[in-house]
């Protein structure tokens, strides 16, 4: 398990960029965290580092969006929030083996579909400190990264190095 504190949005993008070069076709990243935790921000950094075509924006509306990348392996960005479970996620017919897949809100749905994954849990401070007053506060996020399955643990180790 890796624990980090990510101070702002730029650092969240940088974390994505740090993970990107470790990834290859078949790798799955699970992003956990409430609305506004930084899931899409992390994916944006990851996509930029992979040379992904098209803007990495929220896939909530379309459920899944495929971005061709400079390296040839497409980046598939999924938002599973609206999918009730693994069956519906499976119905999307994603090419898990041929792509780098990032799934937001995927916990409890992805695990039965793939053997290994890297889970990145993003925790946004909640509560009374919320006094935004027109500014977008850059608040630190607590990040916990954990690999599952052989390939997941390999990624976690590589990230720790």
């Amino acid at each position: 398990m890796i624990e980090l504190t990510v101070p702002d949005a730029a650092s969240m993008e940088a974390l994505g960029a740090r993970i990107a070069p470790l990834l290859r076709a078949g790798d799955v990243l699970l992003l956990d965290g409430e609305l506004g935790a930084g899931k899409t921000t992390l994916t944006r950094g990851l996509g930029a580092a992979l040379g992904a075509r098209g803007a990495i924006t929220s896939p909530t509306f379309v459920l899944a969006r495929e971005h061709p990348t400079a390296g040839g392996v497409p980046l598939v960005h999924v938002d599973a929030y609206r999918l009730p479970g693994a069956v519906e996620l499976d119905d999307l017919d994603l090419d898990w083996a041929g792509a780098i897949t990032v799934v937001e809100w995927g916990s409890g749905k992805v695990e039965s579909l793939v053997d290994a994954w890297l889970r990145v849990a993003l925790d946004r401070p909640t509560g009374v400190a919320a006094d935004t007053d027109g500014e977008e506060p850059d608040e630190p996020r607590r990040v916990v990264i954990r690999g599952h399955g052989a390939r997941g643990r390999e990624l976690e180790a590589a990230l720790r190095a």
Binding site: R44, S58, T132, G134
Partner: protein
Amino acid sequence: MTAPLVLGIETSCDETGVGIVRGSTLLANVIASSMDEHARYGGVVPEVAARAHLEALRPTLEAALEQAGVALGEVDAIAVTSGPGLAGALMVGLGAAKALAMALDRPLYAVNHLVGHVGVDLLDPEPLELPAIALLVSGGHTSLLRVRSLTDDVELLGETIDDAAGEAFDKVARLLGLPYPGGPQIDRAAVGGDPAAIRFPRGLTHPKDLERHRYDFSFSGLKTAVARHVEAARDRGEEVALADVAASFREAVADVLTAKAVRACHELEIPRLLLGGGVVANARVRELAAERAAAAGIELRIPPLALCTDNGAMIAALGAALVARGRPPSPFDVPADSTLPVGTVLC
């Protein structure tokens, strides 16, 4: 010689639209929506949309022909949305258009959905003079365009870097415990609320952001600010002031959308602005746009609502313009392109 009779098919998202125009005269605009089928999922589900298009296309086409009072055989050209949009949904419309074009032996025009939203203005008796700035805002898109020529020169000035505006409405509705789709729900909840009660952030409007993202939008920070506000109230054991939160959120969206559009008009010295997309249904967005355009001496054009949301008439209108300019039709193997760039008007 009479102007060409053009049939337009639109299936990029959850509305099945068939429109018929003769030149720049609107003859029919029929829309079947599968919105109700998506509501229980809290948003559009691509597979559901594709299947609904398949079922709705034929009846919608027949209703449009009846409304226009023409027979299918009289149609001179078929126009269809080939992107951007949901791939499966696009394929249904594109497949139907190809089949019709081939069976009737008529040319096929596979066109850009976003440019279609601008092209709808051609149906106005006095179309907006070009160049013009266009602001297109819907569940899936938030784009600012510079249009020099509808058929040849459409430039993307900026777009959302995270959530589309309509998506922000849906997510904030979710945060507030309101159902999908979020836009009308938030409008309802905002009645009697104070839009200045909470100063929510305006994404990408700070000087440091304007350098890199002058005409881009961001609604993710706004959504997070609403989430934090709601959580903070709950932590303090207070009721969330729903009307104030909804009104303040809506104000932040309307403010940043219209401010950026007016800024583009001003900086690029184009005093003409066209609004399009489903979010234009939001009364506050329209109102603020009208207020600011008037103050800045900008001619503002907002098409009637049935032509703002996704529809086939706009695709037919754009198709008719392409025919009139003598542009060569699309090949029959033209594919659906879910991320078609706005610069490509005709595929």
